[in-house]
């Protein structure tokens, strides 16, 4: 106050002295005019910077003054800006003021002048304007150089949506200048003959590298331009927030606004200012900043975050209490202790927040797919007892904390895993059995299901099976079976047994599962019922059993066709009379068999019902092999007795018989049906699946039919197969068969009898001439080794004459009537001696039979095949002889007219020098010294050559 009084006194004294000076020396008012006015330019920012001072102030004098500034463009009379600038002025103080021009300063000459006045209430008498300063001219154009064309402003940086003024300065009056913005011509206003101005409003962002604006002269290759760097609007930071973890450091975060366009010219800066402490920090990062809280700082903080770039400054504010923004550190020293089968204790520590703060901690326990959550208040040390845990189970426990008084954020979780201890199994194993009788023994296969994790309460080490003979209760047998076995096979005598099965882990034994095996298997015959399966399974029901039943068991095989059928069972209570059996293993088209047992009070199962069914029936997979029988002109019978309907993927409900015929109408009992190939046929429906035969009746004789049989289930018929063709016989053919067959049989019988008769006659009347080769004499001769004695071989004889027997046609004589006829000889050898002169030769007659072609007058020409008689031999037909000898000797018998000659013989000459009986004489030998004989040979039927031998009539036999 004293200081103020002194200052006031001094000021008044100075003012008085000033007034005295005014009145006494100058006798006129003193003006405080601005002096030393200087104007400089900043082209990039398009700014005029003015600086001046006021010299007429007294020493230490300080006055409020106002300065009026005028700015003119092109000429001084064209004032474009007038502004009053108020400030406090000291003696010789340099005052500064800036003005930003919309028009680039290069576009026109600018002039500035100013005047001042005291604007201080303490000296109201000085409130008048001083004189104007002289005009200060700013002419940038004169320093541009000599280029013909300039465009301004250069490389200007503006925000999207701004208004920008552009100009060009041309040095030539003759050129017509055109200006373009990104290729689009602009139209401006002529500022003076050399300068044109373009006003761009609301400029858009086009690309990061800026917008090209250029001007060209219509003549020459002059092009000049500028790049207008347009940034996107600089946005203020979002989500500004501060928090502390230890009350010593604040971490402030925010989301910076969208990118301004990646312009390198637009680097952004972020500043954090706290108003209560007056401290400020420049943030190093774009999205977060740390702030150190002094130890004696107040709890309240008022922050201002300022984001700034070349063009704009954005600020956001945040006022908060430090203790309300506590984000605790994660708990540490977390342990799980005293872990038993059902309990465990979790302990942890927290970082303290202040002296009296309490933390709220949250504990989460994960195990067996469940989550248990608990909250605990903690100062420094936390402890929590976790109860009702499952034995032998893995758990995960985690804890996090927050400020209990002013919740802000949870800390991060700290997690620990642990496993509870084991306990004895809680449930008895689910046991079932399969009983078979093998060689007088009872083979019991026990099955049990593994205990679930919750039931086992630990790792099952073994299953105990105790067998107790009910007839001799003192007899016990114990078996220990380790997992993973889930069953065992027991061979028992026929005695009754009670079987107890328990599961054991390291801690103890489960309750026992009891099942009894009776000496009587009790598999009474129960009729099987059909049951229809659905997608959800098989719905089975049974009649409730009178008497004491402790429960029911449904048994089935999941793989019925497999020897290891994968036996399954389901235990049901005594009050249950129905259940749904479902399994992922059920497949369509597979027949499943279910057995329902009742469990007696003695734990003996006995069979109640049997069910069978398909989860989904399919059409039959194959068709039966159909046999056709009893084919008549009007019917035939089909049978398919070997067809196994039980192996089909559905219950066979009958058969469909398709019959195709040329008849337009279907027979009674059938109906028209269209096949998959659009052909039409008749269909018989056989509804009885057990029927395995079918008679197709009412057919037409001598008609063609096709049939095809297929079974059908509830879903449909079996696959379409090939039709079997059948033609019904003619109506009279069976009559013919009945007549002709006996006739043929009779003829054959007569023929056989005749043959036998002829054989008998032959034996009795003209027995066979003994074969000299087979004579016992021959062996005698050989033994004496007499070379002169030999047997003439018939083959070696050369015929010398042919006896021709003339037979009267139509005459037929019996054997008894036959007279010896004098034969006619044709002498084939030219020698006279052969028959006339006496010689050593002995001549025999040789009659060889030749059967005529027929036994009647129809006897005709007998064809002779040359190949049929390649060799001479008496066993060949009679034609062979002459033919083999050549046509020079005789005519072929084939040329002999029928009726003239029908029996021939050949006389043969046997050479005494003949050799191998199989060899043929190639040259006819001389018939010297040979013996001649005649013999008779009957040619057996079987030895006759096929083309020339026919069956002789009985009456034609000759000798």
């Amino acid at each position: 106050m004293a200081l103020f009084s002194a200052f006031q006194t001094t000021f008044l004294l100075a003012l008085l002295s000033l007034k005295t000076y005014q009145s006494e020396v100058l006798s006129e008012p003193l003006s405080l005019a601005p002096e030393s006015l200087e104007v400089s330019i900043d082209s990039a920012r398009q700014c005029l910077h003015l600086q001046w001072s006021v010299h007429n102030l007294a020493y230490h004098q300080e006055l409020k003054m106002v300065f009026q500034i005028e700015i003119s463009r092109i000429k001084t009379s064209n004032v474009i800006w007038v502004e009053n600038y108020s400030t406090t002025v000291k003696r010789n103080q340099v005052l500064r003021w800036s003005w930003e021009s919309q028009l680039p300063l290069e576009c026109a000459k600018h002039s500035v002048r100013m005047r001042g006045a005291v604007d201080d209430a303490q000296v109201p008498e000085l409130r008048f304007w001083s004189n104007w300063t002289s005009w200060e001219e700013v002419d940038v154009q004169s320093s541009l150089g000599h280029d013909p064309l300039f465009v301004f402003p250069k490389d200007k940086l503006v925000e999207e949506g701004s208004n920008v003024t552009i100009c060009y300065v041309s040095r030539s009056h003759q050129n017509n200048i055109s200006c373009y913005l990104e290729g689009v011509r602009m139209h401006g206003e002529q500022l003076d003959p050399n300068v044109c101005v373009f006003h761009l409003k609301n400029v858009p962002f086009i690309r990061e590298t800026g917008t090209n604006i250029y001007c060209k002269a219509d003549r020459g290759d002059v092009i000049k331009g500028i790049v207008l760097f347009v940034s996107k609007v600089f946005e203020e930071p979002k989500d500004f927030s501060c928090e502390t973890r230890d009350l010593k450091t604040l971490n402030c975060t925010w989301a910076p606004g969208s990118d301004a366009g990646l312009l390198t010219q637009l680097s952004q800066s972020y500043t954090l200012f706290e108003s209560f402490s007056g401290k400020k920090t420049l943030c190093k990062h774009k999205s977060w900043c740390n702030w150190q809280v002094p130890p004696d700082s107040q709890e309240m903080h008022n922050f201002t975050l300022t984001a700034e770039n070349y063009l704009r400054k954005r600020s956001v504010h945040l006022l908060f209490n430090l203790t309300h923004r506590v984000h605790p550190m994660a708990p540490f020293n977390v342990f799980v202790k005293n872990v038993s089968a059902t309990n465990a204790t979790m302990t942890w520590k927290v970082h303290s927040i202040g002296n009296y703060s309490t933390l709220l901690c949250q504990i989460e326990l994960y195990g067996e797919g469940k989550v248990i959550q608990q909250n605990v208040s903690v100062k420094v040390n936390g402890k929590h007892l976790m109860k009702k845990l499952e034995p032998s189970t893995e758990y995960a426990a985690q804890v996090r904390c927050a400020n209990a008084n002013h919740f802000w954020k949870w800390s991060e979780w700290t997690r620990r895993n642990f496993t509870t201890a084991e306990a004895a199994p809680s449930e008895a194993p689910d046991v079932w059995r399969n009983v078979k009788s093998v060689q007088g023994h009872c083979v019991v296969t026990l099955f049990w299901k593994p205990l679930s994790k919750l039931q086992a309460n630990g790792k099952i080490l073994f299953y105990n099976v105790v067998l107790e003979n009910l007839d001799r209760p003192s007899t016990l047998k114990l078996l220990s079976i380790p997992p993973p076995a889930n069953g065992t096979e027991l061979t028992l005598d026929q005695c009754s047994y009670q079987i107890r099965v328990t599961a054991n882990n390291s801690v103890g034994t489960s309750p026992a599962s009891i099942i009894a095996v009776s000496g009587d298997p009790g598999n009474k015959e129960v009729e099987e019922e059909r049951v229809k399966g659905t997608e959800d399974g098989f719905c089975l029901s049974w009649k409730p059993q009178p008497g004491d039943v402790t429960g029911y068991v449904v048994e089935w095989c999941e793989r019925p066709g497999d020897p290891l059928c994968d036996l399954q069972w389901k235990n049901l209570g005594p009050d249950t009379t129905s259940t749904v059996v479902s399994s992922d293993a059920f497949r369509p088209g597979v027949r499943y068999n279910f057995r329902i047992y009742g469990i007696s009070t003695e734990r003996i199962p006995y069979l109640l019902e049997k069910k069978t069914g398909y989860s989904q029936e399919l059409v039959p997979s194959d068709n039966p092999q159909v046999l056709m029988s009893n084919l008549t002109s009007y019917s035939f019978t089909l049978s398919w007795k070997d067809y196994a309907a039980e192996s089909q993927p559905g219950f066979v409900r009958g058969y469909s018989l398709y019959l195709k015929s040329k008849a337009a109408r279907c027979l009674p009992g059938s109906e028209k049906a269209v096949l998959s190939d659009d052909s039409i046929c008749c269909k018989y429906k056989i509804d009885n699946p057990k029927q395995k035969t079918f008679v197709v009746e009412n057919l037409q004789p001598a008609s063609f039919y096709e049939f095809f049989l297929t079974p059908y289930t509830s879903v449909g018929e079996g696959p379409q197969g090939a039709f079997t063709k059948v033609t019904t016989p003619d109506e009279y053919s069976h009559i013919l068969i009945r007549v002709i067959l006996p006739m043929i049989f009779s003829i054959l019988l007569i023929m056989i009898l005749c043959y036998l008769k002829s054989q008998w006659m032959k034996e009795k009347c003209y027995p066979d001439i003994p074969d000299p080769y087979k004579s016992s004499v021959l062996s005698l001769i050989k033994s004496k080794e007499n070379p002169r004695l030999t047997i003439m071989n018939v083959k070696d004889c050369i015929p010398d004459a042919i006896e021709v027997i003339n037979k009267q046609e139509g005459t037929r004589k019996s054997l008894t009537e036959t007279e010896p006829t004098k034969p006619t000889y044709l002498y084939l050898l030219p020698t006279e001696k052969s028959h006339s002169g006496p010689g050593p030769c002995i001549c025999f007659e040789n009659f060889t039979y030749n059967q005529a072609a027929s036994d009647s007058a129809s006897c005709g020409h007998v064809p002779v095949t040359p190949k049929a008689q390649p060799q001479l031999g008496l066993l060949t037909s009679s034609e062979n002889g002459p033919k083999a000898l050549g046509k020079n000797y005789v005519n072929s018998l084939g040329e002999i007219p029928a009726g003239e000659t029908n029996l021939n013989y050949v006389s043969q000459l046997a050479s005494p020098m003949c050799g191998d009986k199989s060899s043929l004489p190639t040259n006819p030998p001389e018939p010297a010294l040979c013996s001649e004989y005649k013999t008779q040979m009957a040619i057996p039927m079987g030895l006759a050559s096929p083309p020339s031998i026919t069956l002789l009539d009985e009456g034609e036999h000759d000798h």
Partner: protein, 234 residues
């Protein structure tokens, strides 16, 4: 897909450029073939110029017509053809050094990283090409003046006059790249003439059968650099 193909081609060319791996091919024809292919590849404006025009917004009517090569910046084809082989290689090496330096300058006006990719690939290409030029110079007999292998220092070429005006800078950059592609086209043609007439060199013919990994004469760029004699108007 096209970019991928381009990248594959570039990598292929770089791997062809065996000097980059530390040794030179001693097969003259093979090396000449590589130089031809590389020059043919680098002459395409799609490798550099088109991309530059696009990102700088110069693809506008009335503006792109001014993106023409400024005479005298690059040697003309005629001037190149008049040079001896050794001189040609020397000029080529120096000019490409200048191009590399200029590309580094142009890089400053490209703000986005993805837009720089083409420029960087082009720089890699030029470095590989310069290495092959060096190898070719090794194969030419009797040459005392050898080209130097890359990398060439930034001072290897005259600094362009600094232009503060962004518009003028990008227009000059466009003109420069236009000239560069034209120059590479001419270089490819000269190399092709080498292949057609092996004895055309006025003074030298290629040495054949040089041993692999031949020693190189690394001359000081400060003392031995040839000033381009062929900087003549086309």
């Amino acid at each position: 897909m096209l970019a991928l193909c381009d990248l594959g081609l570039v990598l292929g060319l770089l791997f062809l450029s065996t000097p980059a791996m530390g040794s030179c091919l001693d097969n003259y024809q093979e090396l000449l073939g590589q130089l031809q292919k590389q020059a043919d590849f680098m002459q395409h404006t799609s490798m550099l110029l088109d991309h530059y025009i696009s990102i700088q917004g110069l693809d506008k009517d009335g503006l792109k017509e001014h993106c023409q090569e400024r005479p005298g910046v690059f040697p003309s084809k005629d001037a190149l053809q008049r040079l001896s082989r050794q001189e040609f290689l020397q000029i080529l090496n120096n000019t490409l050094g200048h191009v590399l330096h200029r590309l580094r300058t142009l890089q400053k006006d490209i703000p986005k990283a993805q837009d720089l990719e083409k420029l960087n690939i082009a720089k890699l290409n030029i470095r590989g090409f310069k290495n092959n030029i060096h190898c070719m110079a090794q194969l030419l007999p009797g040459s005392l003046e050898k080209t130097e292998p890359t990398p060439t220092g930034p001072g290897a070429s005259p600094s362009p006059t600094p232009i503060s005006d962004a518009f003028q800078r990008r227009l000059e950059g466009c003109r420069f790249l236009h000239g560069y592609h034209r120059f590479m086209h001419s270089v490819g043609q000269v190399f092709r003439e080498w292949g057609q007439s092996p004895s055309r060199s006025r003074r030298h013919s290629p040495r054949r059968g040089l041993r692999k990994g031949t020693h190189r004469t690394h001359l000081s760029s400060r003392n031995k650099r040839l000033m381009p004699r062929g900087w003549l108007p086309r």
